[in-house]
Symmetry: C2
Subunit: 682 residues, 2 copies
């Protein structure tokens, strides 16, 4: 009967878990939609205003043209939103800077990153990404949307919010790090799915890039979250765009290719070359970006400076764009104009300026344009200059104190040079019918993304899902991506891993590093270890907690006097538990007062933010009382022998998701302790 | 400099590993092509002959029709190939019976299954599947192709074949169980990819269904193998079918849907209902099949009986098909005939018999027909009877001693009832335009597959890739599949897991079972443990190896007399190593003869098939000599404490891919040993 009770409990937990994943999908999608729609509306307003401003000023004074006023308007409309966004990020929640993917990845690896999954973070990130994209910085909304999904997941699954100091007293069964991590993974998948309308891509993304731990059930759960998310997005956006009828159309964020893309076998080497080029350009981008960010962290340490810097980059972007529009004369006949804001500028009547068309919209719309504009929509010079300008702009943007992702600008640069390659080849071989510029733009985008991000499968699936190309086109995409990744990996790491490394986050790799080979625990353990006796004085514990900030303390027995570090190991106790013991005065001497009501829940209630030792008053008279840890400690800590090999210890550490691991000798006496950092920095 | 040398060695290993994966892809595809083409050619011959036989006999005697001769021919052309196939499987290599997926799955979980990845197995399996499909049994070639991929992978990666007693002395770096398993996983993915022309599906299949261990690099490698495989297949099949030009077309084994499939939101509940139906039918199928197989193993234990049984099922199939053709009068006008062998039979001129069209081709072609035939190609009665007949036939076929997979018949049954549902609904609501019968056949196939196999993601991707539907149709597919899986899981396990369970294969699940909760090592360990002293007599070792068939023996020290099981653990030694020691007489007394040339290679040479203890001559005079195990043993076996919790021990066991694990007490003395079986059967 007990087992049936347990079964029912476990079934209930199962169903609740599924409900949470579905909720994660829905809410993530709603947030993503909101960001999406606000960005679209505001950008529409901005570029409409700029277009009419340009039209007004140039038409008056036809021959010379006075772009000064539109330029100033443009500056204003870029600098102000960027200043707001950068200010919020810098002054309210600095953790929201950047795309958020490296942080989510580190979190999923088991690294504690403070404030990464709070509601406040989500709010700042959302507003930050809206203002930055509307401001016209070379960045995308995708990274922040993924981060948003992670926050939503963490918030819902825990049933409480520390930002609002509100505990709904639901979902208590899921309040531990492992469960929370699984939900966050689902949230990240839902975020990808909402950002691109790519459910399979979202699932694969979380598998390829985000996750550090895997099991079969997780595949399922993340898939559900990402499918629900893309479906919700679809319904909301259909309603918003006023699509009539109930037919499900699918989302093609980067525009659907109308004709199925085909390719000839002899194009494969060409795709491979594009991949190599993407790898080289991506590796250079990563290197350059890292250098710029090093420079930044050295010379712009003050907050105000960081905001100014973001505004400066925005101004630089506008200025370069204006200069391009002014100096490059690329007029195309109206009529088959694929742009929504055709600007006449200095062109003849019935013509529009193709350069302005590239700049007078969000980067995402420009990617769409490069994929789908008919052949002959741009001059070669236009695309060449655009590639260089955008390459440098995106490189200086990533790392600013704004909430922006790197996906869209990278895809944009790639699409530009991919299209450029097709145009150059077509110029040389005018009879080559296969040189469809949109196809090459897609391959170029894939190659450039591969070179910068070093993901392959999820990227190709995402690109396939967002452009609706056939599965038979998977092969060229993956060839370009793999070539890009291999070439890029020869030079440096992907941009996310670079960010993680620069920030000295102790990420555990997937497999033991080759340099572990032949080492034993002896070589990497940390010592001396601070131990606590099975029955120790409160005073000593208080001092130890003050003196060192270790997270776990071995509990020892069989100790002569105060030579604790020579005792036999009998368990381990966490810092947080010791603090709770001191705070609640759980001493042997007053056992009769607390023994009844103290359960495991006493310790769980404070998860995930434990009080610090400073909150314990030091002048308590009970400090000479005794603490009996046998009631509280974990009696079977993971122990390894001094002579065990490091690769195996690593595997145990990683598989069990440990934070610390005791090293003992053959007599079960403590020799040292191993934490995450010992694997990476020794 | 040493580290650079190691780097170069590791780079070389890396490159070789990639080359092996590419080779696996190519060779698997070539084998799959061969099977494919032979089946196609032979079936073409068979059904062409039958068609003309029917035409001849019926035309002569128009009114009554004499189907006796064609029926006899059909019987002969079915029974003979099936008898050959069943005979080969039964008498030459019984392990090739069935689809092979459960066996590959168990192998990848770390269970040793003898002869599963040998060249001989591959040969028998290939011929077996060709004869069985040509014989017309209700089975598919897909499962065996996946098994073939696994064999190819194991063979190539080890650079030697035991069947041909040939060692190429290459790829020696990969001769261990872990590496071999990774290659086999890649081979399985390549097999799926070749069977369906679905590279992403192949990768996901190996992830969702086959794999038991995962890390990020594996995703990559399996993807490469499956892409190369589908590409090779594409080239070979294009050449074979004489497709002109070099344009890559992609493979659509189940026929490409010409018009993009769309759906309305209100169809989603309908898809869910189809899923529920698929779950119910699948669960019933699994139950029925298990019962039939239990009956079989009880009442047909002799080899000849097994062959007869297969022939009987073939005859039953032909008889039922003939009866259907004879009694159901379903004539359709020629012209838009989607079948390649239109049989007139008793129909008017310019008409063909739709029932015969269902039967006069391979099951795969029938699936294609059900997906793509225009509306109104069948009577409702035809499909209803066909569903029932094929359901029962496929149920009695899986488990016969023939090499056949379960994918195609399951899809076929599902496609039949899916189409039937659409036709019934259309009959009731003739104005419902959305009731495209092909679409519902696809959803029905998905639902039925989900109900029987209980996979979801890989199945939906495979179906998408083989029919070329849009990614926006992913959602209905996954809804049907998930409903089917949930409903099915309520009743029983998927068919592969059922087969594994019936055969008592000790598969380690992904996560600790709920019933482990609260248990400690004490509860599941096996004892007493047979130990060996650090310096023990050869005679004792010889006796121990004879008496018990354990695979690993703890090496103990600090022993009083012969009370070995009370000694302190200092290492572990494998049975195979002990046998090699005895065979090569590696004793302390004659150390000077062997110490020079004995290295780790001495022990690795015999991998993977170690000699048995029977090959050691018992009357050797050296049997009183001493063996010093400190030179040979593994000095740091994985040890856990008696009081450690079982879920954690399970996690360590699984993560490290262990075969045995020592349980010690606080004084490092042996308490017991835990193996794979202890987790599952205690």
């Amino acid at each position: 009967q007990l087992s049936r009770l347990r079964d029912r409990f476990s079934l209930r937990t199962h169903i609740i878990r599924w409900i949470i994943f579905i909720l994660i999908g829905i809410i993530t999608a709603v947030i993503a939609c909101t960001i999406d729609i606000v960005i679209e509306e505001l950008s529409e307003l901005k570029y409409n205003f700029l277009k009419s401003s340009v039209d007004d000023n140039v038409t008056v004074n036809k021959s010379g043209g006075d772009l000064a006023l539109p330029y100033l308007w443009w500056l204003l409309l870029s600098a102000v939103p960027v200043a707001i966004g950068a200010g919020m990020v810098t002054y309210i929640e600095p953790i929201t800077a950047g795309s958020g993917i490296p942080q989510v990845k580190s979190y999923l690896n088991g690294v504690k990153i403070p404030r990464i999954v709070r509601v406040k973070t989500l709010a700042v990130k959302s507003i930050g990404v809206i203002t930055s994209v509307v401001g016209g910085l070379a960045g995308g909304k995708e990274g922040p949307m993924i981060h948003a999904g992670a926050v939503v997941a963490a918030g819902i699954s825990q049933g409480k919010s520390t930002t609002f100091v509100k505990d709904f007293h639901i979902f208590k069964a899921f309040r531990d790090d492992h469960e929370k991590r699984d939900f966050v993974l689902g949230g990240a998948a839902a975020g990808v799915s909402a950002a691109f309308g790519a459910p399979i891509g979202g699932m694969l993304f979380s598998l390829e890039e985000a996750a550090s731990f895997w099991n079969q059930n997780l595949i399922w759960r993340t898939l559900i979250a990402s499918i629900i998310s893309s479906f919700t997005l679809n319904i909301v956006l259909s309603a918003y765009h006023g699509v009539s009828g109930l037919t499900f159309t699918g989302l093609f964020n980067l525009g659907k290719f109308d004709h199925p893309l085909t390719f000839e076998y002899f194009e494969l080497p060409l795709f491979m070359l594009l991949g190599v080029m993407g790898g080289l350009m991506g590796a250079a981008w990563n290197f350059l970006n890292t250098q710029i960010n090093k420079f930044r962290s050295r010379f712009v340490p003050w907050r105000a400076g960081k905001v100014c810097e973001a505004v400066l980059v925005a101004i630089l972007g506008v200025t370069l764009a204006c200069a391009m529009i002014y100096y490059i004369n690329d007029c195309r006949p109206l009529g088959n104009d694929p742009t929504i804001h055709p600007v006449q500028l200095f062109c003849e009547d019935n013509e529009y300026n193709a350069v302005a068309a590239l700049w007078f919209q969000t980067p995402e719309a420009t990617v769409r344009a490069l994929f789908h504009d008919p052949p002959g929509s741009h001059k070669i010079l236009t695309l060449a200059v655009f590639t260089i300008v955008y390459y440098l702009l995106s490189c200086s943007t990533f790392g600013l104190n704004v909430s922006l992702g790197v996906f869209i600008p990278t895809a944009l640069v790639g699409a530009a040079w991919g299209r450029l390659v097709a145009m150059l080849l077509f110029y040389m071989f005018p009879e080559a019918q296969f040189l469809h510029p949109g196809k090459y733009a897609l391959i170029g985008a894939a190659a450039n993304l591969g070179g910068v991000l070093r993901m392959t499968i999820s990227l190709s699936v995402i690109l396939m899902e967002t452009t609706g190309v056939e599965t038979s086109f998977f092969f060229p995409l993956i060839i370009a991506l793999i070539s890009a990744k291999w070439v890029g990996d020869y030079f440096n790491d992907g941009i996310y891993d670079t960010v993680i490394e620069v920030n000295h986050v102790p990420m555990l790799p997937w497999e033991p590093l080759p340099q572990y080979k032949g080492l034993t625990a002896q070589a990497i353990l940390s010592k001396p270890v601070v131990c606590i006796k099975l029955r120790d004085r409160a005073h000593y514990i208080y001092e130890v907690l003050h003196k060192c900030n270790h997270n776990g303390f071995p509990v020892v027995d069989d100790v002569e006097g105060d030579r604790r570090s020579e005792g036999r190991v009998c368990g381990i106790i966490l810092r947080s538990q010791l603090i709770v013991i001191l705070l609640k005065s759980l001493y042997v001497e007053n056992q009769r007062f607390w023994q009844q009501e103290t359960t495991i829940q006493t310790f769980r209630d404070v998860y995930p933010r434990y009080p610090s030792i400073q909150s314990v008053k030091p002048l308590d008279r009970k400090f000479n009382y005794t603490v009996d840890l046998s009631m509280f400690m974990n009696p079977s800590p993971v122990r390894v022998n001094t002579y065990d090999s490091v690769p195996r210890i690593f595997n145990i550490f990683r598989a069990l998701g440990l934070r610390h691991l005791l090293v003992i000798n053959n007599e079960n006496r403590i020799e040292g302790i191993i934490t995450r950092r010992d694997f990476i920095y020794k």
